[in-house]
């Protein structure tokens, strides 16, 4: 077993990132070799994009409250990735890498502009925190993270969960997102009034996913609010694990020598 090559994931940690432990646990459960690295260490090392692509199959930007959201959730983290590390995530994806940004990690991807400059995020709840479970449904086949998923229940916890599109370019942006398969996950119910029910976006390759609810918090069935109706399933996996298993399958495929 020790000879089996396991794909490696870089899970970022650092100021304002909060969910690195459960994100790391989710990837480990799916089979990854997990490396938790502090963003400031990577900056001081001058860790380059090509090193990232050589070392890791997946980059994970966990949820948090990036620097207490002073300038907008995920903003400072986005600036550090763009300007201090100089990483272009689409280049990483084009070399076979996969990226996931969860919660404010998704906000970081939006602030970087991974999904276009016309999309942003703001509060749909009058600035109030919302901690509740929501149903989300995958759309289309583009996103590799969501492959084979049906409607799933996931926890949502943020005050800024409403994805918005520049009012002057709304229609063409929505058409673009839809046509390119980038609108990959939608809320059923949409209590946060997200534009077109957007709960997740992916890039055109399907390798970079930004997701607002938290799959890493539903790795075990006992996290679900209704699990006590079926205690015999207490040891079953949660529905969120499927995303990380998809990434594992995809990463393993990339690691296998071509036959």
């Amino acid at each position: 077993m020790s000879d089996v090559i396991r794909p490696r994931v870089l899970v970022l940690r650092g100021p304002g990132i909060l969910s690195e432990q459960e994100t790391a646990q989710a990837f480990a459960t799916a089979g990854f070799e997990v490396h938790l690295r502090n963003l400031d260490d990577l900056i001081s090392e001058g860790y380059r994009e090509d090193q990232l692509a050589n070392d890791y199959s997946v980059l994970a930007i966990p949820a948090g409250a990036s620097t207490a959201d002073d300038l907008g959730s995920g903003k400072l983290l986005a600036l550090k990735i763009q300007h201090r590390l100089g990483w272009t995530l689409s280049h990483f994806a084009s070399r076979g890498g996969m990226v996931i940004g969860i919660g404010s990690g998704f906000h970081t991807l939006l602030r970087i502009g991974v999904f276009g400059k016309e999309i942003s995020v703001t509060s749909g709840t009058g600035g109030k925190m919302l901690s509740a479970w929501v149903k989300v449904a995958p759309i289309g086949m583009t996103c590799l993270w969501l492959k084979g998923l049906g409607v799933v229940d996931l926890p949502l916890r943020h005050s800024d969960a409403r994805i918005v599109i520049h009012p002057n370019r709304r229609t063409e942006t929505l058409v673009k997102l839809s046509r390119r398969g980038m609108h990959c996950l939608k809320y059923e119910g949409n209590s946060v009034e997200s534009e077109a029910g957007i709960a997740g976006l992916c890039d055109t390759t399907g390798r970079i996913l930004g997701i607002m609810p938290h799959p890493e918090s539903f790795i075990r069935w006992t996290a679900h609010p209704e699990w006590t109706t079926a205690p015999q399933r207490a040891n079953a996996p949660g529905q969120g694990l499927a995303l990380f298993e998809n990434a594992y399958q995809e990463s393993m495929r990339a690691l296998q020598p071509e036959t």
Partner: protein, 1013 residues
């Protein structure tokens, strides 16, 4: 270059500042709200940065401008970032009434208050420009509230500013007229330069003041201390005087320094409680008396309030899983073969009184700080908050310059929400208790549990050892005047820094670089110095080495400064550099400030000057031990004749609806949904059971506690539950203490805790608080003593020891003892965790327990204005309870696993518990009264409260096995009827329906929509 930048959300997006502000106004002052026809906020930045115009434009665009969301108003710096008007008119024109009458309120932090957003902006500029801005760069942040309303006067605007927009302790505000809003003069560099916060000038002080005690009277000496913000009781001053009279060279009397007095006062803090905790308490005959059916009388002498009560429980119920309790550092409990659990608590009212949001964040942060310093470093895994607040219907106490209780409670909620979210700790339990007798300032009791590996970095975590010569390294925010008594500066906790500190602690611990960590929060370096010296024999501390925010701080101020973002690590000399280096890489300032010594003294230096030199045994052991009495006054309770209560068959429905919508029973979903109980991904029992995922469709009901599944490698779950019985305190605080213990234990069992074997982890923690003046009143002191003894007796009866506790004097106007108990327990298999909801029609509904409920102290008596004259108080049956609890906890029998739901019978009694279990799934029940109950007994049965009651369900198939096992183990139970899918709660008296109500009506009452913010 100077610049002012205003950032406004475009009008199509909801404004996170003005929307809740208007809502708060509507809930608390509807008349004022009607005068405001429109409101909108903007964030304001004042910049003085060494950048060229091009650099400033570039970095501002990159950091502050999201073209989808924002307009920037910058004067002529970046006109293209604004809307079509290029100025604030872009926002004003969206007001519905044009031309209207506009005003603006602008606020900013006062000089000396830490502006965290400004620091973030500087960091962002540096990230974009890839260089440091240097120490001369200055940034300040604030906000502007634009208002429109033709009838708004200066008085109205002043009220809005003071009560809704700003906190004058932290922020200054100004009023701008319509003309000033429209004018661009405020963007002029010269104006910005004038408005930039100025550096506080250094004032000359003698570094250390000396107090010639020998030549002063106590009155003069106490006045000297008062001027310095140091508080002592007169007898304490006598103790200091006695100590110093022969402490000089050659055994002569010597002066005290202000550093020494600050040190002593911080160590001897909480004067009234300190006295009572050390006192020999002699309750008089009335205060000792306890109804023999309730418990044993109080002893004639109690040696120390905690020592003689709670700590005694551990002697009577010793448990091998208690690694340490009530000792230095955290209480440590063995969770499993790999990890310990530690417990921390904090009670906050003083800083909440200053600012409800920031004060609450401070309280939460203090618990977090203490938690991370547990053992050799810990990771907080869950938190609970119990809030006591004034009645929200009460009149606004304007004459006392207080905010409306709703406004303050909203601030507390925001504080918990922000702190929990930003620190990444799930809030999985707690309570909100509203009472007209509470003061204007809410009181928050915080608790946190942390996980600690039994060994980390190759060192066992339960070993507390240091060596002489080990160094003290301070880590965290630089020291300012924050937290000094009498200082106008109120600390705003930097939760991001605190969280980073928490991560650093884990890193250092796992590397094996530290011996221990000490929190430097409450009591500051003074308290820390005394603790370290007492535990390890002495230390030398050099205050000149402590990083400071500004020059000019006196040694006494450095010693007394309190903040929740500072810790001290004790490390071996060869590790100092590595720890400081790692901290620096994590953006945390670190410095070596002292050394462990074995000389039995606390010696504090300011560079070369010795500022304090006190013996450790004097600091921690020589406080005077007083003799205290405790008396008891007869309770005066309102009673109503039983006939006035009417027929429960006729009045039961209305009573039930009143109870379901009572502020202390109705839904807390508005609050729970704003607190993050999911972060860390481990919650296995949430504060609410929810049906049909998706917030707008979901229905929910209350659970009895919170639980987490901590590890993927283990099936075990950890549970935390709360018990409090404040209404019973009006009858007898002994009863209140006993009920609180029983409720905490009951709730844990309802959630699925293991119970009944010595090896099962099941521990209790207490928290109590009251105004300091109450401790001077022997009756009120008697109440407190009785509560502590009642709780301790109950704990021994239930074989669940107290292992931790917290007590504090608080700021409130009315006399009120707040007493609560929390149970920390374990479920071997998380599959055994249960929720309170009825799940399947046809399931049998059972009352488990002796069914001896009482109307005295019950919520129904409050609703009816008094208990019946013939009502008797609730009484425990501890033998029965132990059997029932052992069965529920899995120590005896095996059929308890077949129970599908359990809910504890507490506020509102049995019928309320049944109604709460029906709510989420819209279930109904068909139940029958037990036969032969008289009228009072029917009320008692339906709505009475007391000890040891549960409502449980199990399937029809399993019922015979469950019933047989209950009978076999002599556990009392009554089968009340069954769950139905009818959506109707129906109780029959004989053949006739006596009480019928639809579940959807109950749900409507319980939700009490529109009541909360």
């Amino acid at each position: 270059m100077f610049a002012r930048i205003e950032v406004a959300l475009k009008p199509e997006y909801s404004d996170p500042l003005s929307t809740p502000l208007l809502r708060r106004m509507e809930m608390t002052d509807p008349h004022l709200r009607k005068l405001v026809r429109w409101a909108r906020s903007m964030t304001v930045y004042w910049l003085d940065v060494p950048l060229s115009r091009e650099e400033l434009i570039y970095s501002s665009q990159e950091t502050l401008w999201d073209p989808v969301l924002h307009w920037l108003f910058t004067g002529n710096l970046i006109p293209s970032a604004a809307g079509k008007h290029g100025n604030v008119e872009d926002i004003l024109e969206t007001a519905p009434n044009r031309p209207g009458k506009f005003f603006a309120l602008e606020k900013r932090f006062r000089l000396g208050v830490t502006d965290h957003a400004a620091k973030t902006l500087k960091d962002s500029f540096e990230a974009v420009l890839k260089r440091k801005l240097g120490p001369d760069a200055r940034v300040a942040t604030g906000s502007m509230l634009l208002l429109e309303g033709p009838q708004l006067t200066e008085d109205h605007l002043s009220r809005i500013a003071r009560e809704y927009f700003s906190n004058e302790l932290l922020e200054s505000w100004t009023l701008l007229s319509e003309k000033e809003i429209a004018h661009t003069e405020r963007f002029h560099p010269e104006r910005v330069r004038r408005e930039m916060p100025k550096t506080a000038p250094s004032r000359y002080h003698a570094p250390v003041d000396h107090l010639p005690l020998a030549g002063l009277t106590n009155f003069e000496a106490l006045n000297f201390c008062k001027r310095k913000g140091i508080l002592f009781a007169p007898e304490e001053f006598d103790a200091i005087r006695n100590y110093l009279k022969d402490a000089g060279e050659n055994g002569e009397s010597r002066d005290a320094t202000d550093v020494e007095l600050e040190l002593i006062s911080k160590v001897w803090r909480e004067v009234p409680f300190r006295r009572l905790l050390r006192a020999e308490i002699s309750p008089d005959e009335d205060a000792r008396a306890v109804d023999p059916t309730l418990g044993n009388p109080l002893p004639e002498k109690i040696s120390g309030l905690v020592e003689g009560t709670f700590k005694e429980t551990l002697k009577e119920v010793p448990r091998a899983w208690v690694v340490s309790a009530f000792e230095n550092g955290s209480t440590l409990l063995q969770y499993d073969d790999e990890d310990f659990i530690s417990i921390e608590g904090e009670i906050e009212s003083k800083t909440v009184a200053s600012d409800s949001v920031f004060g609450t964040i401070m309280g939460y942060s203090e618990v977090y700080l203490r938690s991370i310093c547990g053992a050799r470093g810990a990771r907080p895994i869950l938190a609970t908050d119990v809030i006591f607040s004034a009645d929200l219907h009460g009149p606004v106490p304007r004459d006392q310059d207080h905010l409306h209780p709703r406004r303050v409670l909203d601030g507390v909620k925001q504080g918990i929400s922000k702190a929990g979210f930003q620190l990444g700790v799930p809030t999985i339990g707690g309570a909100l208790y509203l009472d007209a007798r509470e003061g204007a300032t809410p009181l928050v009791h915080f608790s946190a549990l942390s996980l600690i590996p039994r060994t980390s970095g190759g060192i066992p975590s339960d070993v507390r050892e240091v060596s002489e010569g080990d160094r003290l390294v301070i880590l965290g925010s630089p020291t300012g005047k924050d937290g000094m008594i009498g200082s106008p500066i109120v600390q705003i906790c930097d939760t991001t820094l605190l969280r980073s500190l928490g991560e650093l602690v884990i890193e250092v611990r796992d590397l094996g670089w530290n011996r221990l960590f000490f929190p430097c929060g409450e009591g500051g370096l003074a308290s820390l110095a005394a603790k370290v010296a007492r535990e390890f024999g002495g230390l030398d501390l050099d205050l000149a080495g402590v990083p400071v925010k500004a020059s000019g701080l006196r040694p006494m101020e450095v010693l007394g400064s309190e903040t929740a973002e500072r810790i001290v690590a004790i490390v071996a000399p060869e590790r100092v550099e590595a720890v400081i280096g790692l901290a620096k890489r994590r953006g945390i300032i670190g410095a070596e400030i002292g050394e462990i010594k074995s000389h039995g003294r606390v010696r504090i230096f300011s560079g070369e000057t010795l500022s304090a030199d006190l013996e450790t045994k004097f600091l921690r052991g020589h406080q005077p031990r007083s003799q205290e009495t405790a008396t008891r006054s007869a309770p005066t309770l309102p009673t109503r004749r039983s006939l006035e209560w009417g027929d429960p068959a006729k009045e039961g429905v209305e009573t039930l609806l009143r109870i379901m919508s009572h502020p202390n029973v109705c839904s807390r979903e508005w609050l729970i949904r704003q607190l993050d109980h999911e972060v860390q991904g481990a919650s296995a029992l949430k504060p609410l059971h929810t049906v049909t995922v998706s917030p707008e469709l979901s229905h929910s009901g209350p659970n009895d506690g919170g639980g987490v599944k901590l590890k993927s490698s283990s099936n075990a779950g950890l549970l935390i539950t709360t018990g409090l019985a404040p209404r019973a305190g009006a009858t007898d605080s002994y009863l209140m203490g006993a009920l609180a213990v029983d409720e905490a234990v009951r709730n844990a069992l309802a959630c699925g805790a293991d119970y009944g074997k010595e090896e099962f982890l099941f521990a209790l923690s207490y928290q109590f608080s009251c105004p300091a003046k109450d401790l001077e009143d022997s009756n009120l002191r008697g109440s407190l003593v009785r509560a502590c003894v009642g709780a301790s007796h109950a704990a021994v009866e239930l074989q669940t020891p107290f292992v931790h506790g917290q007590q504090k004097t608080i700021l409130v106007q009315a006399s009120k003892l707040h007493f609560l108990v929390q149970a920390i327990s374990r479920a071997t298999k998380v599959a055994g965790i249960r929720s309170a909801d009825f799940k399947t029609p046809g399931d049998g509904v059972y009352l488990l327990g002796p069914a001896q409920f009482s109307l005295i102290g019950a919520l129904v008596s409050e609703v009816h204005g008094g208990a019946p004259e013939d009502a008797s108080p609730p009484l425990p049956q501890w033998d029965t309870a132990r059997r029932l609890y052992a069965w529920l906890g899995g120590a005896i029998g095996k059929e308890q696993k077949k129970l599908r739901s359990i809910h504890d019978v507490s506020d509102g009694g049995l019928l309320t518990a049944i109604a709460e279990s029906c709510l989420a799934r819209g279930m109904g029940v068909a139940l029958s009264y037990p036969e032969g109950l008289d009228r009072t007994s029917e009320w008692e049965f339906l709505f009475g409260e007391g000890f040891h009651g549960f409502i449980a369900t199990c399937s029809e198939i399993d019922a015979p096995l469950v019933e047989a096992e209950l009978q076999q183990n002599e556990v009392p139970f009554i089968k009340l009827g069954s769950v139905t899918g009818s959506g109707v709660v129906q109780i029959r008296r004989g053949e006739n329906p006596a009480l019928v109500i639809e579940t959807k009506v109950l749900r409507q009452a319980w939700k009490r929509e529109g009541y909360w913010e």
